[in-house]
Symmetry: C2
Subunit: 109 residues, 2 copies
DNA sequence: TCGCTACATCGTAATATAATAATATAACGA
DNA sequence: TCGTTATATTATTATATTACGATGTAGCGA
């Protein structure tokens, strides 16, 4: 993506951007949608549901997991993925705080 | 970035991902932070504030503008950038809706 | 008109992402 | 043990993003 000059920005700004980046792909949104609806899923469910190849889905799951948004628990030959509710709240609050800041703004130009 | 298979996902999912992508860079978060605080700014304010080159800032402003998050009004030799409050609300609600969906979820595995 | 200021655009290098085929790993049932 | 199922990892291709120098454009004051 080119070199993002992380050093120029605050921790908060970098963190918020990183959080947004996790959600910046429709496949990851679709995965989260599915998990929210079904409460849990295995990788193959998503392969069928999304129509993406298995390695692609696996890669997206890995990103969501390393971002802390989902948990993966091994269950025999499959992995049970579910929402990490604690971090989910954190994400929610972080975005909320950002958008709330401008609640009282008026259009200037 | 590789080819995102947009066709596999719903309009809502694609839209949400697109919105997230706009916010997925700390420079753009910093620009929005600045505009929220100062109500308005010109490109050069941000060049000084952020420490990025003028073309880089200009490019980020262009993306924020084409996403509808900010307005730009020509004022003599400069351009007055300010928040597009209507679309800001839209963003806020869109993210809210997404996160609210999972409010009552319990950790499953 | 000249020069300055403020931006935008173009071109390009460096780097990150998305997607997948091929392959590896790991559990389980026959 | 062998085959099957489920997933992860690796390597690679195609494409997008970030950043900036160089350059173009446009308004404005002297």
């Amino acid at each position: 993506m080119g070199i993002t000059k992380t050093g120029l920005f605050s921790d908060r700004q970098n963190k918020l951007a990183r959080m947004a980046k996790i959600m910046a792909h429709p496949a990851r949104i679709a995965i989260l949608d599915y998990i929210i609806k079904a409460q849990r899923c295995i990788c193959n469910d998503l392969v069928v549901e999304l129509g993406l190849a298995q390695p692609t889905v696996s890669q997206h799951l890995k990103e969501l997991k390393s971002a802390g948004l989902i948990n993966g628990a091994i269950e025999g030959t499959s992995v049970c993925y579910s929402l990490n509710t604690e971090n989910w709240k954190l994400y929610k609050e972080t975005f909320l705080n950002f958008f709330v800041d401008a609640a009282s703004l008026r259009q200037v130009c």
